[in-house]
């Protein structure tokens, strides 16, 4: 048997371990965090579906969950290239599913979201796909939210009936794959097993009707974790004029103005800001048109129609730096919930068949004076280049304030884990 003590190097650090144990566990026991998502302590061989624990092992790229430690092994976990592969995979998952954190009861207790925060992920390099996915209320106690499923396979492996039958199973293949649930067998599960199904799900895809998923109750697991300090954010470098006050413009496109409300939440320190900068076009000043060139433009909201696109383009033209504020600006946010539904259905629902529409309504508003709706809500970054993003729905006031200070003072102020949010 393999139980010899061997030596390996992880990120240059020499570590002793028992030969043949999974690398991901050995690293963790030695205080080196290799991020994982599908990994679960009770499953062997490991699932290796998410690929987030990808590392460089003896010069080969492989997953840490499937790798067993050997003598002389050299592992690179945190070099920029490897960290970028891992980040890209998390970004792929966000782009592939419909992860609407503000509307998800697992928010704050979600492993995928936590991975995003840990990596300081504010925008996915991949365009969101907005594929329509089913929501399955069919089972007696479980509610399957396929929009959020990351196909990790945990529930398939772990949740079985007393006589060993699978309650969950993959259906279809490739990008059409989803996790199906057996209605009949779900009925046979004990209440404890149903809750276990919810709890092994790393995201909010398996929910239990009438049961809160927050753990601990009333709190958010990751917010309460004191070991989580700062989020690695990308550097924001701005050359500001020294001879005058910097000029800022703000706007809200397809959004709810909540991000502007969050700016107001900066409270007392707003007075400092007003001392330091000058506001031009902005709902805060009620200046409707640019009267001069601006240093910074702050954009709230996504792009839902041609008017939004025009305003955004004007901002790009008139401002040196554009900051996207909030989830709508980043990927479309709540208005983008319509992206999984055909535009035609949206229009019918809103103007012809809704409970508030005139009986027998036959007209969908359209005139030169009203904006023309886009086929879907776009990210601001789809239309023009955005230089920096502040995530959140709305972004935390402290986060906004720190970014403003970073810009004005020219030094990076770290963002605390608890200030970096998607909800």
């Amino acid at each position: 048997m393999m139980n010899e003590l061997i030596k390996l190097k992880i990120d240059g650090r020499e570590i002793e371990a028992i030969e043949g144990r999974p690398l991901v566990d050995v690293a963790r026991e030695n205080g080196i965090n290799i991020p994982t998502l599908c990994h679960f302590k009770d499953i062997y061989p490991p699932l290796a579906t998410c690929r987030i624990c990808t590392c460089n092992i003896n010069g080969r790229i492989d997953t840490a969950c499937t790798t067993l430690v050997r003598d002389g092994m050299e592992v690179d976990v945190n070099s920029p290239e490897i960290a970028d592969i891992r980040k890209a995979i998390v970004e792929m998952l966000f782009a592939e599913g419909n992860h609407n954190c503000p509307g998800c009861s697992k928010s704050g207790n979600c492993d995928l979201q936590h991975r995003g925060y840990e990596m300081g992920l504010s925008i996915s390099r991949f365009p969101h796909l907005f594929k329509e996915r089913p929501r399955d209320f069919g089972p007696e106690r479980i509610y399957m939210e396929h929009n959020r499923c990351v196909l990790c396979k945990r529930c398939i492996e772990l949740i079985k009936t007393d006589d060993g039958k699978n309650v969950f199973s993959f259906q279809n293949r490739g990008h059409q794959a989803l996790v199906g649930i057996d209605y009949e067998l779900e009925k046979q599960l004990s209440d404890e097993k149903v809750l276990e199904a919810r709890d092994v799900c790393p995201v909010g895809a398996i929910l239990v009707k009438d049961k809160s998923g927050a753990a601990p109750f009333g709190g958010r697991k990751f917010d309460l974790d004191k070991s989580l300090k700062y989020v690695p954010t990308t550097d924001l470098k701005v050359e500001l004029p020294k001879d005058r006050k910097p000029v800022i413009a703000t706007t809200s496109l397809a959004g709810c103005f909540g991000c502007h409300m969050s700016i107001l939440d900066i409270d007392d320190e707003l007075i400092d800001i007003i001392e330091l900068v000058e506001f031009n076009k902005s709902p805060l000043t009620d200046i409707k048109k640019f009267s001069k060139r601006c240093d910074i433009g702050i954009i709230e909201g996504g792009v839902a129609n041609n008017e939004n696109a025009e305003v955004l383009k004007a901002f790009r033209e008139k401002c040196d730096i554009l900051v996207g504020l909030g989830e709508c600006s980043i990927w479309g946010g709540l208005p983008a919930m319509r992206n999984t539904v055909d535009l035609e259905d949206c229009l019918e629902e809103a103007y012809l068949h809704s409970v508030t529409s005139e009986p027998g309504a036959k007209i969908i508003p359209r005139s030169q004076d009203i904006p023309q709706l886009f086929d879907k809500v776009y990210s601001t970054n789809d239309i023009v280049k955005i230089d920096y993003f502040i995530p959140g729905c709305p972004p935390n006031a402290d986060h906004i304030w720190k970014v403003i200070k970073t810009v004005l003072l020219g030094e990076q102020i770290p963002i605390a884990y608890q200030e970096f949010k998607y909800d």
Binding site: P46, I85, P127, V150, F170, L347
Partner: protein, 578 residues
């Protein structure tokens, strides 16, 4: 009829599903429920298994199910017109069935008839060299009650040898290799295979002798020999030809493998696209049994029992990956396993197993006949012996060519009569593209490896069409288990279509290259790891085809407002008018 006996063997689930599928053209809700009850596993799991394979249907189909190959070779040979003709003649749309319930139309990945495209399978019988006229005739006959048997095409095998003394395309004499084997100990057989330098011909090129040695070393009362006849790489058809021309040689190779590693059971995993070869293979197996080459005490060798069964696949490229194939044989979804154990350690039913390709087993039989020295003296330092190429696309003489490793591209092009080769895809979509002008390059480990597929496209073929076709292939055939392959390939496909619409700037090429690299590095199995090679390489090799479509880099993004508002304007006009 299945109802007469209880279906309780999970490993037979593909056969149970085939019975149901063949019986009435689809698998109904009650079929699924009954099967789940008899097998004693959940309904959702049965659904999961059958929905993994694209030849199983859950909705009623027509009396004739037509699968038209949508590979790139088919495309350049007239796929579009043939597709239209099928729709016109049958009255059905692709993906559906005609109102009379006679014809169902589906597109499918390469069916291994690239030398006679466009080709289709109708109820799994081959129809080749299709054109609208021929389609019209076929549909007319079938509509008027004609028999499929009478009008199906004979699959023609064109074989050419570019070496004087072929290894694989040589006349076959039943039992010749086995007679040699009889005089050798199992270890001596492995030593010969090792000395020959043979490596896996399926495309992974793992040394065959080494694989067998590992398997031999792992003690077990039961071991398995699996012949991978799931030749799914688009453009390849050499295994079809080998099985059609020399089925006995492959079977002898399997018997030799069983003898060498100490296995008593062999399985041929035959792709459903080659169902029409099953009868011939069964016949050959029966003949082998009759003369004592299969069964108990093979060739009178005391204690060496070996028999072979055929398993028909059900449509899934990924099942050509050896661990996915094993999962499929065990009655699971055909997803690849993690590489914690190799099949030679824990393979089929966790027993030591060798999985080799049709061509590899055939080569083993020839090597035993000819001797290791003969094989080893051919080829290059890194690639020993000969190789079969399936040549298709724009050339006068498509077919299977046996070449010695180290043959120059130009000699291959000359032999098959390719005049205007511009884009050559070596080793299928999972391989690499070269320019026609790179004809001094050689086919071997040292330069260009080739698993068998060799597709030639002329300068009139739009390279972006080729890339889109390959990209769609991987999107459709990814098993979906791992994130980079499932999501990544889809995302890259979206990017490609944006490029074609003129919505991307030059810097997008760096983006695609970087995404492709991530998919390649982080995917779970060979499918994902090779799924973007063609794209990365063609960005290097064919920059001009991208340049044409790309907009110069600038600060502004390319965004088409007209396109984004089009649906709103159209729809409001339509509604408000009515």
């Amino acid at each position: 009829m299945a109802a007469n006996r209880l279906r309780h063997d999970r490993t037979q689930i593909l056969n149970y599903l085939w019975e149901l599928q063949d019986e009435k053209g689809y698998i109904s809700d009650s079929d699924v429920r009954r099967l789940s009850g008899e097998l004693n596993f959940s309904v959702v799991e049965v659904e999961g298994i059958l929905s993994f394979y694209h030849f199983f249907h859950r909705k009623p189909t027509g009396k004739f199910i037509i699968y038209l190959n949508d590979s790139m070779v088919s495309e350049v040979k007239g796929f579009k017109k043939v597709k239209e003709a099928f729709e016109k003649e049958t009255g059905a749309k692709f993906g559906g069935v005609d109102p009379t319930g006679t014809f169902s139309l589906f597109e499918t990945s390469c069916i291994g008839l690239s030398d006679q495209e466009p080709a289709a399978l109708i109820n799994f019988e081959p129809f080749t060299n299709l054109n609208p006229k021929k389609v019209k005739r076929i549909i007319e006959v079938l509509r008027n009650g004609g028999e499929l048997e009478d009008i199906k095409d004979e699959v023609v095998d064109h074989t050419y040898s570019l070496t004087d003394d072929p290894v694989l395309l040589r006349p076959y004499k039943i039992g010749a290799a086995l007679k040699k084997m009889l005089k050798l100990s199992p270890q001596a057989v492995i030593d010969i295979v090792k000395a020959s330098g043979l490596s896996g011909m399926g495309g992974a090129f793992f040394p065959t002798g080494v694989k067998w040695q590992f398997c031999r070393r792992n003690e077990s009362f039961q071991k398995y020999v699996i012949c991978n006849a799931d030749e799914g790489e688009p453009g390849t058809f050499k295994d079809r030809v080998l099985m059609n021309q020399y089925p006995g040689r492959m079977i002898e190779g399997m018997i030799i493998g069983g003898y060498a590693v100490g296995a008593s059971k062999g399985i041929i995993y035959l792709r459903a696209e080659y169902r029409y070869l099953k009868a011939k293979l069964e016949e050959t197996l029966e003949k082998f049994r009759d003369i004592g080459l299969l069964g108990e005490n093979v060739l009178g060798k005391d204690g060496f029992d070996f028999d072979i069964r055929i398993q028909i696949g059900a449509g899934a490229y990924i099942c050509g990956e050896e661990t996915a194939l094993i999962e499929s044989l065990e009655g699971e979804r055909g997803g690849p396993r993690t590489k914690v154990y190799f099949p030679v350690e824990k393979g089929l039913f966790n027993k030591p197993t060798i999985v080799n390709n049709v061509e590899t087993f055939s080569a083993v039989a020839s090597i035993l006949e000819l001797g290791a020295e003969n094989f080893n003296s051919r080829g290059t330092q890194g690639s020993k012996g000969t190789k079969l190429l399936s040549i298709s696309g724009h050339c006068k003489k498509p077919g299977v060519y046996e070449i010695e490793w180290g043959t120059k591209i130009k000699d291959v092009l000359k032999a098959c009569g390719a005049r205007d080769a511009n884009y050559i895809q070596v080793s299928g979509p999972s391989g690499l593209p070269i320019r026609g002008s790179e004809d001094e390059r050689t086919i071997c480990t040292e330069d260009l490896l080739c698993g068998g597929s060799f597709m030639i496209f002329d300068s009139k073929t739009d390279v972006l069409d080729i890339l889109t076709n390959f990209s769609n292939f991987f999107i459709n055939e990814s098993c979906g288990l791992c994130t980079p392959c499932r999501a990544g390939n889809f995302l890259v496909g979206e990017k490609l279509s944006r490029i074609r619409k003129g919505l991307e700037q030059e810097k997008v090429l760096d983006e695609i290259a970087s995404w492709s690299k991530i998919i390649q590095e982080a995917s779970r199995c060979g499918l994902g790891k090779t799924s973007t090679k063609f794209l990365m390489e063609s960005i290097e090799k064919f920059p001009e085809v991208f340049k044409e479509k790309l907009v110069k880099d600038k600060k502004e993004k390319e965004f088409n407002v007209t396109e984004a508002t089009e649906r709103y304007l159209k729809y409001t006009e339509k509604i408000n008018k009515s």
